[in-house]
């Protein structure tokens, strides 16, 4: 309804060049920009529900394997270092905060803060991934703490520890994949933000990729206690 489609843009009359976001018009099949925005958000929420159900499968697998092999799972969580898991939790929480701030900045047309917040979020994503890979996956994998039939850690005290590692790598691996996808999305948003595409009239993409990022965070909030804290 408020979409601007006139020859005389607002910005120009104020004596400055018009930003791309000011020229944004909704897709031709939408009645107004609000509907389009609501639909984008609704669509993303639906997509997030599919992600939750995807991870629900992993959580159920975790619960059942833990029930079948409690000792192996107790040993397993002792192998993990709570400090790295905790640090990664903090990193993700910070990034969730900054991505929310990025959305706010877009709404307020604070182009600089939009970019700064997105960049911090991306740095957090890289930090999370580096900690996961460099301090957890690689050291563990190299001593033989591997999933299923690949397992060859000589000091295991329960025959089902390979199962623990299967669940661990599957759950955190698929989560890490989501971190990568989320970071990819946010990078795209960042690149486009340099062109001034996002602003009060067009921030659906910032908002929806932010939502996705929150989900990635949320899943980790469940994975962290299940894997690191419950002994």
């Amino acid at each position: 309804m408020t979409a601007i489609n006139t020859d005389k843009p607002v910005g120009e009359s104020a004596g400055r060049k018009q930003m791309p976001w000011e020229r944004y018009v909704q897709g031709h099949h939408w009645r107004n920009a609000e509907d389009e925005f609501d639909a984008a958000k609704f669509g993303m929420w639906l997509f997030l529900s599919t992600e939750i159900l995807l991870f629900a499968g992993i959580f159920v697998g975790y619960a059942i394997m833990r029930m079948l092999h409690p000792q192996a799972f107790s040993n397993g969580s002792h192998y993990l270092d709570v400090r790295w898991g905790g640090l990664n939790t903090v990193v993700l929480l910070i990034s969730s905060w900054t991505v929310a701030m990025a959305v706010r900045a877009a709404q307020l047309n604070q182009q600089k803060w939009l970019r700064v917040n997105l960049i911090i979020t991306l740095i957090c994503a890289i930090a999370f991934f580096s900690i996961k890979l460099g301090l957890e996956y690689i050291p563990k994998w190299s001593v033989g703490k591997r999933p299923g039939a690949l397992f060859n850690y000589p000091f295991a005290s329960d025959p089902y520890e390979p199962m623990w590692w299967s669940i661990y790598y599957t759950a955190t691996g698929i989560h890490a994949l989501h971190v990568l996808v989320g970071a990819g999305l946010l990078t795209w948003v960042l690149v486009r933000s340099f062109k001034g595409i996002y602003g009060p009239k067009n921030y659906a993409m910032v908002e929806t990729s932010g939502l996705y990022w929150h989900l990635v965070d949320l899943i980790w909030i469940f994975l962290f206690p299940l894997l690191y804290l419950i002994h």
């Binding site: 609704f42 159900l53 299967s166």
Partner: protein, 595 residues
């Protein structure tokens, strides 16, 4: 239906927008490019239509081969010269090795099941007729996310390519259900099982994206004046379907992914040797695949609601009951998956799942009764869509009712994994979904392509399909009840008669479908031009041209009456003499009041 004259601001750059959506862009290359990059829901729907029909053809060929193999039991005998001879094997037979032919048979029925379920029936109605008509029937110009729609089509193509590669690589012998531990160990040195599983995984994404798109479209793009209960029931069916697609498909996604991990990395979650649980796979699998049987049937039920109302010119009986029973079915469908594993569960769980399974029958029966009540005193037109709707009522009822003995614990113990189950699900999937799809295709064909099909041959084809179907599958009920297990290439001699009848039926079915195929081809080439509203329908698609213009409507439609108000309005583009409004019955004298 009248539209309010609210002109859409003219856009001179889009001169072609008043042309039919499928108008040529000049050269063949331009057309191909235009279709391959289109975000028009109608073109995407048509591309899906041809893709799923092609898959139906492939799957059908595999089915004919399976039936042919079962014409005779496989026997080894020693002939007069003292040599061992194997008889009754048609495909992949090796005189030295009886296993070789049986292996081929396993691959054939898996091929049939996997193609039919993942590549044909799940996308069939929603992605083709749904894509084409959902936006039009709610008065929108397109689905909410047109680019996502195109993406979902390409994901479908990629998924199907994976499936085809797996077939070229030798095929898969796991059955469409990929049960562990067999599926994680068979063909261990080959990638074809992984490819087939990945195909199903990828196709799942396409299904999720379509469902997501439809849900948002229904919520956000209904025309002004169209409330939830002014929507045609086909839309309700698609809406309920989409909910299931969005909520159930991710679970099969993770299941299939775990299966792939299992095969590649041997993670062991489904492997008892490593402490895993193979039945967990079945739980995961059916948590998706039971709801997905309603993904298959709910759009079909939606179509039948349209067919029966339009072709008997009556207001649908129990609109809300039909709409809510769709949602009811969608809800309950998530709670019954255990009935596929009665033999692998404790008594308490089995009893609960059995009780919940019976619950599904209630909303289903509500629909059937409502359809029949709609027919009552309607002015029924006998044409192909109506014949298919009747066939649906008959066949689907058999399919649904035969589900109940499977849901009852005592009888399922006997019937589980027999041909009875095979017959049951063919009555619901083919007798239900495919029949409704065929009915819907005839009903909307003139709208989609602007040409009529031949009515006489349509009805003949329908009758032959109906007869062939019953010959093929009633015999399978009998086989199953007598103890013929499913998925075997051979059987005891007592079963041969029934198997032969069933195989004969499959040929009759083939004839029926070929008649439809030729009828459709004839229609595209030389069919008479279709009027905008050949059936006198009241839903919005009949208001626009046949075929619809690029933007569906010249003006944004404004809804002034319900989709089934046949008693109140003359259908758009129709002559009031041809579609007279019913004369209201003279008021009956009231009962005498006794003081």
């Amino acid at each position: 239906m009248t539209t309010m004259d609210r002109p859409i601001p003219a856009d001179p750059s889009d001169a072609h927008h008043d042309a039919p959506y499928n108008a040529s862009r000049g050269s063949l290359a331009a057309d191909v490019l235009n279709w391959a990059t289109t975000v028009d829901h109608k073109k995407i729907g048509v591309m899906y239509l041809f893709a799923v029909l092609f898959m139906f053809f492939l799957g059908g060929m595999a089915a004919l081969a399976v039936r042919l193999e079962l014409l005779e039991p496989v026997r080894t005998t020693v002939n007069a010269a003292g040599q061992t001879v194997i008889t009754g094997q048609l495909f992949g037979a090796d005189p030295e090795n009886i296993q070789a032919g049986n292996q081929t048979y396993n691959r054939l029925f898996t091929l049939h099941g996997a193609i039919m379920v993942f590549m044909f029936i799940v996308p069939s109605i929603p992605a083709s007729l749904g894509n084409f008509f959902l936006p039009i029937m709610i008065g929108a110009k397109d689905v909410a996310f047109p680019k996502l729609n195109l993406l979902s089509w390409y994901i479908y193509v990629i998924g199907s390519i994976f499936g085809v590669l797996s077939i070229i690589g030798g095929g898969v012998d796991t059955g469409w259900t990929f049960y562990t531990p067999y599926s994680t160990t068979t063909d261990a040195d080959h990638w074809r099982v992984v490819f087939m599983v990945l195909a199903a995984f990828i196709l799942g994404f396409s299904s999720i994206l379509t469902g997501l798109n439809f849900i948002v479209t229904v919520h956000k793009l209904r025309a002004p004046g169209m409330g939830w209960f002014d929507m045609p029931l086909f839309i309700w069916g698609l809406y309920a379907t989409s909910i299931i697609q969005v909520l159930a498909t991710p679970v099969i996604g993770i299941t299939l992914l775990l299966l792939v991990f299992e095969r590649i990395f041997h993670v062991g979650i489904f492997d008892p040797g490593l402490g895993g649980d193979p039945v967990l796979y079945q739980h995961f699998f059916w948590f998706y695949s039971h709801p997905v049987v309603y993904v298959m049937i709910l759009p079909g039920m939606g179509i039948v609601s349209e067919l029966i109302a339009v072709h008997s010119r009556k207001h649908i009986f129990g609109y809300k009951a039909i709409a809510f029973s769709s949602l009811g079915i969608a809800g309950v469908s998530f709670l019954v998956w255990g009935h596929h594993m009665f033999t692998a569960m404790g008594t308490l769980a089995s009893t609960l799942f059995s009780a919940l399974t019976f619950l599904v029958a209630i909303p289903t029966a509500i629909k059937v009764f409502n359809w029949i009540a709609t027919l009552y005193k309607g002015s029924i037109a006998i044409n192909t869509p109506m014949l298919y709707a009747m066939a649906f009522l008959f066949l689907f009822s058999i399919g649904g009712l035969t589900g109940l003995p499977l849901g009852a614990l005592a009888t399922d113990l006997h019937l589980h994994d027999t041909y009875y189950v095979v017959a049951h699900f063919h009555y619901v999937m083919m007798g239900g979904t495919v029949i409704a799809f065929m009915g819907g295709l005839h009903h909307w064909w003139p709208k989609m392509f602007g040409r009529m099909y031949n009515e006489k041959w349509g009805m003949i084809g329908c009758a032959i399909v109906f007869i062939g179907f019953n010959i093929t599958f009633i015999s399978q009920f009998l086989l199953g009840m007598n103890g013929m297990p499913r998925r075997y290439a051979s059987y005891v001699d007592e079963f041969q008669m029934l198997h032969q009848i069933s195989t004969f039926g499959s040929w009759v079915l083939l004839v029926g479908f070929l008649i439809h195929l030729f009828n459709f081809i004839y229609s595209l080439i030389a069919g008479p031009k279709a009027p905008p509203n050949p059936w006198g329908g009241l839903t919005l698609e009949w208001e626009t041209e046949s075929p619809p213009i690029e933007h569906n409507f010249h003006h944004e439609p404004l809804i002034k009456h319900g989709p089934y108000d046949f008693e109140l309005v003359v259908p758009p583009h129709c002559d009031a003499r041809e579609f007279p409004l019913p004369v209201p019955a003279p008021p009956k004298p009231g009962p005498e009041v006794i003081k």
